[in-house]
């Protein structure tokens, strides 16, 4: 899918994350997280997995994570992508 417009999902609550996806020429992933030092590798892996699944090749994906578990990351990113897909 293509990111056609800005899409947002999530909250800034503890154990949640805020995802913002926007159109861009290439794929840019920006991770800000309270647990970045210990978990950036796993957060990035999960984001990439979801982007892969949806066939997203370009767009700016920014997340502000407050220690969310993988299933929350997945759900928030999916929702943000759906909202950005122009559907």
């Amino acid at each position: 899918m293509n990111i056609l417009k800005r899409g947002q999902a999530g909250t800034m609550q503890s154990s949640d994350l805020m995802v913002i996806v926007e159109p861009a020429d290439k794929l840019i992933i920006e991770i800000e997280s309270t647990v970045k030092k210990q978990f950036e590798h796993l957060i990035r892996a999960r984001l990439e997995q979801v982007l892969d699944k949806f066939g997203v090749a370009s767009g700016r994906i920014s997340i502000s994570d407050r220690g969310a578990l993988d299933y929350a990351i997945e759900a928030r990113l999916e929702t943000a992508l759906q909202r950005a897909g122009g559907a």
């Binding site: 503890s14 154990s15 309270t34 647990v35 030092k37 210990q38 978990f39 950036e40 590798h41 796993l42 407050r66 220690g67 969310a68 578990l69 993988d70």
Partner: protein
Amino acid sequence: MVLNSLGRQIPETFSGKKLIPYSDPWSLQPHAERSTRAIRRLTHNGSKLVGGLKDAIIAVGLKDGMTISTHHSLRNGDQLLNDLVKEIDALGIRDIKIASSSIHIVHAELIPYIRKGVITGFECGVNGLIGELVSKGELDCPIVVRSHGGRARALITGEIPVDVAFLAAPYCDEYGNFNGFYGPSACGSLGYAQVDAQHAHKVVAVTDNLVPFPAVPVGIPQSVVDFVAQVSRLGDPKKIVSSTTRITTDPIGLQIAKYAAMVIESSGYVKDGFSFQTGTGGISLAVAENVRNMMRQGKIKGSFGCGGITGNFVDMLEEGLFEALFDVQCFDLRAVESIGRNQKHQEMTAGMYANPFNCGSVVNRLDCAILSATEIDVNFNVNVNTESMGYLLHNTGGHCDVAAGAKVSIVVAPSIRGRLPIVRDEVTTITTPGETVGVIVTERGVAVNDNLPELKAELIRRRAPVKDIRQLRDEIYAVTGVPRPIEFVDKIVGLVEYRDGSIIDVIRQVCP
């Protein structure tokens, strides 16, 4: 560098002092006489009032390179230390070491004075921004983290020679008798200040509430006080309470509290003469509530409640569930109000509470104690000092003292905070050695140290969710993923001293 018995690299010296690597909780013996200070003879019988803080600093002869202390009984409501350092700076004095009983978030105001060279070291642990900046290498100021008992020990042995103690004195007369029970800045117990009053080379009572002689009951006596200084305000006692001092309503917290109560019940100590300590966290208070119901139902008359004392403990005393409370510091205003009224609400010094180097501290008489944890490793070692970014954010408090003293020390914590697994292969910093930790209680299960086999058997018999600590770790990792260790540079910015003065761990600067 040498490895201590827990596998931590300890330098041979730090800030010019030779270090003893930690080996075990029990065997290190004191090698010192009690510290001495000059005997003073004051012949006048008039007032010891010198004026304000500036006058007191001049009167005691504070000089570059000296060590000062304050107490933290007003906790995050303390104003004295900030005001004091401003005056010290204004007088052009530099290179001062702070050896207060603790540093709170409010003391972030000291940061400009650290940058300026007014303060050049902390002989005490810190809470909040100062530790964070030191951890990042943005502030150059060595920190030695000590437990409450360890600090008392270090003052008594003279390892920290405090040149001047400036002690907030909420109810004070002009000849220097004071207590913490009454007045606009009443903070209750002066348990920490008691040690400074006996061991600092000079003692200044600082008050915002001068009362006619004599200020009774006498907490700290005129015979150890050199000067009395007056300020408009010592601080705000409403800020003694931290926001967490309410019983949790969170289902995970309540589940943990239920299991912790099972552990206490299974320990066999809940009978006449039971003694107990708990903290102020929401889970701890929920455990205390369960213990209270257990004691009521069993018509049990406990021996004592201990620690930082809260209103919940006061209720238990007044209900007759405990014979006495031993109070090193009041954690809320109901406790402050009680200590001035209840004879059996006993103020105790930090030395009596937790110093390992004496003829027996109160923690040794504890049956069960509830403790918290930021991280726990598979050998039961606990970290309460550093957080997920590797920053030094919390002081030890009485954690390692109580763990060593209590027959059953119970660490309660959710298995996951944010994404952070609380039980893990290795902790970032060892505050408390696993050998002294009895039981880990999480909502996912209970892990019992091998040194308590009877308790473990009893918990299994009662169908508590007993798990091997490695199994617990694996279950948690299955949810969170395996964390990457935090990266540090070689530079050591702080030490974590065990209660006996040996070095259990170091604080390193984090990688940018």
